[in-house]
Symmetry: C2
Subunit: 401 residues, 2 copies
Amino acid sequence: MNLLNEIAERYPAAISFAAGRPTEEHFDFADLSRYLGLYRDYLVRDKGYSDAQVNRELMQYGRTKGVINDLVARNLLVDEGITADPESIVVTVGCQEAMVLVLRALRAGPQDVVLAVAPTYVGLTGAARLLDMPVLPVRDGAGGIDLDDLLAQVRGARAAGLRPRALYLVPEFANPSGVSLDVPTRRRLLEIASAEDFLVLEDNPYGLFHRRGERPPTLKALDTDRRVVYLGSFAKTAVPGARVGYVVADQPVGSGVLADELGKLKSMLTVNTSPIAQAVVGGKLLEHGCSLVAANVREAAIYRRNMDLMLAGLGRFSDVTWTAPDGGFFVVLTVDFRVDDALLEHSAARYGVVWTPMHHFYGGTGGFNQLRLSCSAVTGAEISQGLDRLAALVTDVRRGV
Amino acid sequence: MNLLNEIAERYPAAISFAAGRPTEEHFDFADLSRYLGLYRDYLVRDKGYSDAQVNRELMQYGRTKGVINDLVARNLLVDEGITADPESIVVTVGCQEAMVLVLRALRAGPQDVVLAVAPTYVGLTGAARLLDMPVLPVRDGAGGIDLDDLLAQVRGARAAGLRPRALYLVPEFANPSGVSLDVPTRRRLLEIASAEDFLVLEDNPYGLFHRRGERPPTLKALDTDRRVVYLGSFAKTAVPGARVGYVVADQPVGSGVLADELGKLKSMLTVNTSPIAQAVVGGKLLEHGCSLVAANVREAAIYRRNMDLMLAGLGRFSDVTWTAPDGGFFVVLTVDFRVDDALLEHSAARYGVVWTPMHHFYGGTGGFNQLRLSCSAVTGAEISQGLDRLAALVTDVRRGV
């Protein structure tokens, strides 16, 4: 996605529907020191730490698997009903490092492959590329995953001498498609994973941001067979600048769990996640009783409002279809002309609006008539004006201008 | 090194000469918020940032190559006389991530190998293992590197169909040997790297901590041919808990520099280094005019005192030899019996003193009569008592007790 960042940098005045960043509306520098103080108070009061122990915990090298694991476990229980042993959690440098660690642990040799619902988040394909691990696409279909295609891919891979180790997906408001899996599909997916003996890598950065309806259970909450490795991000729910994520990996390995193996790999990759950054996230968790639902009431309202405005605003387009997700950050438009990086550059330069060509999420093998619009980091006025600009682009492209 | 951490955890009362951690004597939690404030003031005054821009820089996703690159460049100029374009710097999650990124960039295929002066820092061998990249050892000899063996290894590797891409070393107070390269050896090494066309990966975490004498120029300061990739750590000189390091990679690649390629790889590994953690380091740099020599006057005095005490205290041993480095954290003892993990465990359990078996730094192929003592994170009293305990162990081992 370097090209996209570059285009965004070159046209700073363009309205951006490209970035999947969280809203900055409630960012406040003063929060950082307050979070650090809350975490210190917790260490002193709840854990009985001396000043020297507080200094050591925050400022010295820290435990490879993390220092806020107990708070992360409480968050998972409070918000998701997931019971996780803190020792099955590794706190990582964002969810991206978690993906690299998990793929590296699963990759014993060149025959090991990962499956991923396509279109696929580029972070996963990037992590796999870094490790020279093939990614086999699985069709998403209308329900977020085509389970028949999943079975066909798994069996086809085995027939070709490959070992499908895991399936990666974002079951709730997927990036980029915005689509969610219903509960029966979630259950059926877990049955298939058990029957066919592969892991499910559940990435859930947007699950808290529902526009309407109830939040369905995560795959991990439904997991009775330790099939699910849960990839957690605090980038959208706490502070992106902390770069703190985590992974729940409670699968038995030897006398321990997969998390222990991930910890060993992490010691060779980043040694440990900054305890200062962890303390910032820990302080925010403590401030809200370890509930990120509670911590994100204002932000969730912004995302709901923006998605409503975006979907209403799309009414001005004709001969264009779009998804209408129940939440999250992303809407996908399907148009009747080719959508590529050249069109994006043209859009940025001449129309002052940027977005993400969907072909990036298909490894360049599809999506050439689709584009992704993100509504997370824009104002209501920007949504309206940005859609006007996009409409002008669409009109002119059709006219051949 | 998981075993070593585990032993240290199981015997918390043991005096530790094992950990190469910086002293905690001057850690102060209150520093963290002050550093953040100093960095904010710098953004406002020197860069003209608004409050919203400050919030975005610290709390939003950040630039992949880093945000404090200009301060790092100033530090390199002030303390090392190195002129580095901030765009040739990538700020990383500790020096460990920098090593992974550089090795990954150099590893185009299975024929690419890295050379390393043996005994070798386990962070480098770990990074290479993570990437399935072979490490070829080069003898250190009395002067820190045996240049004849280096040439023999490079040419032998080529003859075997391998591509030696780089040599890794810690030229000043090496971990674990404590040995330093003199200036003529540094110059000769750079000539060989140019003539034989490989890079030099210079890791310099201890260079500021001289016990006596002048600081010699770094390899990077002597580098006129862009042969040196400089690996920087702030763990010993700023705040370990920030987990911030960096790499200077000014080698031309395409229309850019190697740092740009490392940035692309970093976007797949950790996306970006926490700007909050970078701001903590940035604030400490700003507080001391970007000089870490100035920032570490008290710490350098502790390390000098401790090394003096350690070397004086070793006088109680007979039939043991030890290195006497001019600075840094480490002394290596050579004894007349086998030194392995079982002896370490025995030492921890029965004598209350832990240290590091040197065989870990030889990939298990040597060093079985050597142990490393670190004097960085102990008090004077602990050094005295720890050496008494070690002397008792040595006596008992020789008696066959």
